[in-house]
Assembly symmetry: C2
Homo-oligomer: 149 residues x 2
DNA sequence: TTATTATAGTTACATATGAAACTTATTTCA
DNA sequence: TGAAATAAGTTTCATATGTAACTATAATAA
């Protein structure tokens, strides 16, 4: 560190901000795919997608799977129930625990949105060569495991 | 796409969510470096850092440089002025335009935080080999230019 | 038992954020 | 000129978010 370059903060090169900028742009574009047409928030979409893959799950489990905190999960579920996209009952074995499922309507809407979202991810990946995609997956995994939850 | 794997959404593998998760963890840790000791918000820190590098700048230019919207910039500047870290006057040539500078106190605090932040970035980069760091910089640049601001 | 502790989920409160409206100053150009 | 359009910043309002407090249920253990 003799050149006096690495001990000055330059926002344009600062890794956390570069990551954050890219992520924000991508998240905004992604959200537009379901927020406008379907009036679904990002949290709601995440819960919906997770319920599609993992039916009969509780709110707490949903939080684990999606890395959302329990308040965000609770609100997303409330929103989805109000819109008739999710059905909630409480478990008869443990009446604290909810049992969640997509309704018919929820499933229908999910299957309308899913291809749009997958297409968007593909459009992102297509910016990169196959080699670069592998690098990206690897780097994300490595960083994510090391920064700790 | 014949194997039926790439046409189902799996949150754990979905690029925007992996990016978002990593970014959120990093942003939270970064914010802790200045929020607790110095009572500075992320927006305020960003403006502070930018002013250190670009003195005598307006709020609008600050917004351009930091990719923040003008409301966030306005609020950050108000917070920094209230804390006595930034000095604001309006330009005599164009009295709509502000001219911003760090105060002595602002500069002092900035120079206390800067090494902590740089150290944190280094600790992130040190997770990766030099080769991987180059890959990451390259991938971020490529994705960022292609997703469009 | 029954008192204690822990868990699932919700609610309340305080703060953060973004979009649109607004104020003031400057520029444009009929 | 001076009316209309534009630009810089601020304020307002509606919504989003996170922390902590709260309710209800279940598990633990004395």
């Amino acid at each position: 560190m003799a050149d006096g370059e690495n001990d000055k903060l330059v926002l344009e090169r600062f890794l956390p901000y570069r990551l954050s900028f890219l992520t924000n742009v991508i998240s905004r574009k992604l959200a537009r795919l379901y927020s406008e047409q379907f009036d679904i928030t990002p949290h709601e979409w995440k819960v919906l997608a997770n319920l599609s893959r993992h039916p009969n799950i509780s709110a707490a489990k949903t939080g684990e799977k999606t890395a959302m905190d329990k308040v965000a999960v609770s609100r997303a579920i409330k929103g989805l129930c109000d819109k008739g996209l999710v059905h909630k009952v409480f478990s008869s074995e443990d009446r604290r625990r909810s049992v969640l499922n997509l309704t018919k309507k929820g499933g229908d809407i999910y299957h309308q949105i899913e291809p749009l979202v997958i297409e968007y991810e593909n459009s992102l990946r297509d910016i990169l060569s196959q080699e670069e995609q592998n690098q990206l997956d690897r780097l994300l995994s490595k960083l994510t495991t090391h920064v700790g939850g």
